[in-house]
């Protein structure tokens, strides 16, 4: 019975992680987003777009030279103060992607981060559902162990 619980939890977890995320189809829009960079943050820190949008990203450096490298996309901009850098791309992958400063800009440079959130972004809800499932499964596993006669209880 306990083996069945383990197998069931693993199977359901896989299903939760791999099932397509429900989302209403949206037409891609043109988005122009200006990101200002200063030691050690981007403003806005979080950029939200929808899958299918064509994003024009403009980077402005306010103090020293900064870069913007986007995880998951082939985007790497460098801006020196007073000049803008720009690029356009279609966001075709949903999720949360880190924007990282790619030019050494000071002591906290490796921690100069921002986020591009491409909706529908379901990673957290999927993970939370898997955590709930794992918690319930573990408790059930313990309960079944508790009900077996003393001495047979696995620990």
């Amino acid at each position: 019975m306990r083996a069945l619980i383990v197998a069931g939890v693993l199977l359901l977890a896989l299903l939760i992680l791999l099932a397509p995320w429900p989302a209403l189809p949206t037409a891609g829009r043109e988005r122009e987003i200006v990101v200002r960079a200063r030691q050690y943050a981007f403003a806005p820190g979080v950029v939200r777009v929808n899958r299918g949008d064509r994003v024009t990203l403009i980077l402005e450096a306010e103090d020293v030279t900064h870069g913007l490298r986007l995880d998951g996309y082939d985007v790497d901009l460098v801006a020196i103060p007073g000049q803008r850098a720009r690029t356009s791309f279609v966001v075709d992958r949903p999720g949360k992607f880190q924007m990282r400063c790619s030019k050494v800009c000071g002591t906290l440079h490796p921690f100069m981060l921002g986020e591009l959130v491409v909706e529908p972004h379901g990673a957290f809800w999927r993970a939370a559902a898997v955590a709930l499932l794992a918690a319930v499964g573990t408790v059930l596993f313990v309960v079944l162990g508790q009900r077996t006669p003393a001495g047979e209880q696995a620990e």
Binding site: L17, R69, Q98, T107, P110, F124, R126, A127, L132, V139
Partner: protein, 488 residues
């Protein structure tokens, strides 16, 4: 049934003896093993200290920052600690100079054996042997806990934004660790620094309780019969336990540095290195202590604060923790310390009280339940630290390649890798690793909670307590998942 917690039982525990594998058994018994590992690591540490102090101020181009806070930290939290517990303590170079001075030897065992104390089995000789330069003084009784390590970690963590990003500060902090360990080795017996002072050793010890690796005696009965206690006192084959542990009664990894001295000194060949199920030590009732409980709270709190400060999209926590302004830092310090010392312990106290209430165990002292129920937070906390570590290690590991060729940032190109550019690695894999680590930590945490609650009682009462614990642990795991995967 309720009452005093039942002692843990070794019966039925699954173990695979690694020292039964001849090559590994032989290797671990070699005296030169520790010297080679610690000596090699000491060279790396000295390079980190020198590079930190005299090298470039740009952290991402300095060996001290890159190899300590990215390479070493990633290896420690991602591999060594979860799989090997205190395995790093076998390699750690910080106590090496002090220990070598203390023993007046690099590799050689003591020149002579020790006369067995007639009552060694009941009350083994407490002081270390004075074969070297140490005064053989015992560590003060009032400080025989990990409270000092808790305070040291909290102090270091409060200033971590400064320490982790300024090469010169990293260099001086590492030097202070080396000097402190050497100084204490000359005053006190054995490895007092590692056991009672090292802020890193404190949390490694706590998290080693989760590890599947253990060093234990094979048969406690053999030790009962054996009166000379060579493992504690030493003999011509090796030194008495540098960690002041008594292997014959050791049930937990927390204070065993895996140095292997007892493997060498045991004349009965009664010590083995084993693999076992992870988390076994968390259920050892005799080990539950308030100082360790607070260590679990501090580590959990820091694992929640660090992603907000270092990995979040906001600049102000970084500015405040980076001493950009004094009022900002004061606010940060108050929030940081309040979270560590009041908020998280207060929350855990409330959860412990609810658990006791739900189980109907009103006669059990709340303090006892509070301390015991800190231990399910150990696997969860370790999982949260692994999640934090993978977030920045994969993104920044590529700094290591140019730094290898140019450790001081002076324009050298020793191995032809200086021109390699920074490039985040495997960042697409990181969300899956976050989920795997935190869900795995949650499962082990609930499993541990069940084991602990069983020590207090059985049946429906235990299950009611487990329900409260599971909801609380699930809530904390989901909070960490939100930190990493949620849209902030």
């Amino acid at each position: 049934m309720t009452g005093r917690p039942r002692p843990s039982s070794e019966a039925g525990a699954i173990r695979w003896e690694l020292t039964g594998w001849p090559i590994l058994g032989w290797l671990l018994r070699q005296r030169a093993l520790n010297w080679v590992l610690m000596g090699g690591a000491l060279l790396g540490l000295l390079l980190a200290v020198v590079a930190g102090i005299v090298g470039t101020a740009a952290g991402s181009a300095n060996f001290g920052i890159v190899f300590v806070w990215i390479v070493w930290w990633g290896l420690l939290m991602g591999v060594l600690l979860p799989l090997g517990g205190r395995l790093w303590c076998l390699v750690c170079p910080i106590p090496a100079p002090g220990e070598w001075l203390q023993r007046k030897a690099l590799v050689a065992p003591p020149l002579h054996g020790i006369e067995p104390a007639p009552d060694a089995a009941q009350a083994p000789v407490e002081t270390g042997r004075r074969t070297g330069l140490d005064s053989g003084r015992r560590w003060p009784k009032a400080l025989r806990s990990i409270w000092l390590q808790n305070a040291g970690f909290l102090g270091t963590a409060l200033f971590s934004t400064i320490i982790l990003t300024r090469p010169s500060v990293t260099g001086w902090v590492l030097f202070a660790f080396l000097a402190g360990a050497a100084g204490l080795a000359l005053v006190f017996e054995r490895r007092a620094f590692c056991r009672y002072v090292c802020p890193v050793g404190g949390f490694i010890g706590l998290y080693s309780l989760v590890s599947p690796l253990e060093l234990r005696v094979r048969d406690a009965g053999v030790c009962q019969e054996h009166r000379t206690k060579d493992c504690y006192l030493g003999n011509a084959d090796g030194y008495g336990c540098p960690w002041m542990e008594r292997p014959w009664s050791m049930e937990r990894n927390a204070y065993c540095g895996l140095c292997g001295e007892c493997l060498r000194t045991c004349p009965k060949d009664n010590v083995s290195l084993n693999l076992r199920l992870p988390g076994h030590d968390l259920l050892v009732v005799e080990g539950w202590r308030l100082d360790e409980a607070y260590k679990a709270f501090i580590m959990l709190a820091c694992a929640g604060i660090y992603p907000l400060v270092f990995l979040g999209p906001w600049g102000w926590p970084r500015d405040w923790s980076n001493l950009a302004s004094v009022p900002g830092f004061v606010l940060y310090a108050l929030a940081f310390l309040g979270c560590n010392l009041l908020l998280v312990p207060g929350l855990q106290l409330a959860i412990a009280a609810l658990t006791r209430q739900a189980a109907g165990w009103r006669e059990l002292p709340l303090r006892r339940v509070f301390v015991a129920l800190a231990y399910p937070l150990v696997p969860l906390g370790l999982a949260a630290w692994i999640a934090f570590t993978v977030s920045f290690v994969f993104a920044n590991l590529s700094y290591a390649l140019p730094v290898l060729s140019d450790p001081f940032g002076w324009g050298w190109d020793l191995f032809g890798t200086r021109q390699l550019f920074w490039q985040p690695w495997l960042t697409g894999l990181v969300p899956a690793l976050h989920t795997a680590a935190l869900v795995g930590g949650l499962v082990l945490a609930i499993w541990t909670a069940a084991g602990i609650l069983r020590r207090f009682g059985d049946g429906a009462a235990m299950l009611r307590g487990l329900a409260v614990q599971s909801v609380a642990l699930l809530g904390q795991a989901v909070f960490f998942l939100w930190l990493y995967l949620g849209a902030t």
